[in-house]
Amino acid sequence: MSQLKRRDFLKAAGLLGASAALPVNLLRAAGGGDLTVGFLYVGARDDFGYNQSHAEAAAVIKQMPGIKVVEQENVPETVAVQRAMEAMIRQDGASLIFPTSFGYFDPHVLKVARRFSDVRFAHCGGLWEEGKHPMNVGSFFGYIDEAQYLNGVVAGHMSKSAKLGFIAAKPIPQVLRNLNAFTLGARSVNPDITTSVIFTGDWSLPVKEAEAANSLIDSGCDVLTCHVDGPKVLVETAEKRGVMTCGYHASQAALAPEGYLTGAEWNWVTPYKKHVQAAQAGEPMINFLRGGLKEGFVKTSPYGPKVSAEAKKNADAVKAEMMSGDFVIFGGPLKNNGGEIVIPDGTDYKQTAVELERMDYLVEGVRGQI
């Protein structure tokens, strides 16, 4: 079993495993015709970032036999998304929907899912809870903080100033987890390293992102990374100023042939395929699906030309530990940047820990406020 589930779902998981052996074609024939899958994106499909990472995976799903894909982009998180999902169901006959923006989940996906109990809603990023949320809804997400930790390890080796920069959209748990993992990775190499963070306030503000990049570079940061929708601006700005970058969402290596070190990339094909196969086979909805490097939900960009052999060796070693499933990023004792203990000594949060999905602190070594 590759997908990680919470305790409550061991039973369902067992069921799933058993039915996975059923011949897919037979069941689909019984269901009659192709499976129509709907994808909704909150932004433009080609944003060099988050939405593009989804759209690229959707294009792979499109190639699968017996699948018809319908897509809609720039769908705001209002009644518009509720109606768009409903339209896919009613007008296109979609029976599996991928609403890919976090903000779609509550209340929009939940509302529509309650009305269409025979349609599957596989939401990206949400936190599905049993009893509280409908059974035809599932949430999947990737532990991209593992790849961000590796970004940090490489950045820690490559930084000369021991100052790293991180441009973030909003201080929300998913962002903080990446920022903290990046910082911990770098400090595992050199405990004196600090990461300066700048919050721009929204997911796509190119001018602010460029300003933030310049400010960070001016204050001495020599490796930058980010968590905004499109890292293109950051990577290009850094390259122009001769500073190194780690990518996010997708590979931006082509934008910075000199300074691109490595990057944290999504691989949505893995969870998409699981949901599509479950739907085709008529298996129960996968309500909670998470995975990291090991499960193939996320991947790292190939190392750029600047990365030293030592950095590669160190990062590869950590990556191997992650692939074996033993590595713990957030283990006690862990202090926040105000000096208070946030994870006590002896407590190790595995990636699956729900506590990590509620992260609300900056770890020691992060310069910034939330």
Partner: protein, 374 residues
Amino acid sequence: MLKPWLGRAGVLLLPALPTLCALVTTAVLFIAFLLIQGRPAWQAGPLVFEGAFGSLFAWENTLMRAAPLMLTALCVALPARAGLIIIGGEGALVLGGLAAAVTPLWLPALPAWPMLIAMGVASMLAGGLWIGLSGWLRQKRGVNETIGSLLLSYIGLAIFRHLVEGPLRDPNSLNKPSTPPLDSSYQIGVISDSFYVHWGLVAGIVACVLAWVLVRYSVIGFALRVVGGNPRTPRMLGLPVDRLVLLTCVLGGGAAGLAGMFEVSAVQGSANTALISGYGTAGILVAFAARHNPLAIIACAILLGGLEASGGLLQRRLGLPDATTLILQGMLFINLLAWETLTRRTGDWRLWLRGHWIAAPRAGLEEKGETSHG
């Protein structure tokens, strides 16, 4: 004789002539644009209609999107009656939504109805205050209300973001910073399962009808016509100009605030940045396309809602980019506003029709008709 009947029909239809011209021109331009782009133009037209009005679901989709637009359009149309051009409805909407979302937190637990009324009042106060401030600044300080309301709207949005993602944020709202969720009893549902549109639609229509009665039949409405027509006459008549202007601003802002309340309690369930989705800006266009007539606003809001509703079908069936809808909307409003210039003539044509086709030709009228026609 056929002529008088045709004449009467003409007189009735003349006010709609600019709108009809605009619709036709938009259709022609839109199809031409798609043809030039080598896109399936002939399929797009019927699909727009199907997506907007082609089925019960399409109607639900359209009306749901139209509901907030009716209210935000009033935020423009009412002050326009007093001669003010207010374009800051977006700020009033989000602040109204925020006020509605925090009311249950700050009041003791109440049954659903009193609480919903309190939320509605709070949202209207917030919105009314914000637009009222624009009106007050204009009357008392001479600050132009168009720019003033735009600036206040931006400031309102910044305050909203700051509060929702800062001091008023629910710590449990994790990755989507929001105010604490409304209790389910304070959430407004849909009219019925077979007509899946939330009650905001009814509120929008009622508000438009009330506004129509106000401007058409009340003394205030009459006074407004005087104030909006000319800045000097009303003062000579001793009309309380400042108070009238302020009243329209507060009422308009209240309508926009109410739209925010419905967004929060019927759609989002809490206040968050998803409230900022351009309803206020779209309302400006709806109001101008409706020539600030509250009843026409209902129709125009439905038209715009329909275009938005149809955008999905264009994307999914024809693979057109989402921006197609933006272009179509832009073309429609450009045409609606441009053809407005015909209204200068329609009055003359109407007289001419009356003179020539309806009434028995008499010498005096004939002459008048000829001159105005020429």
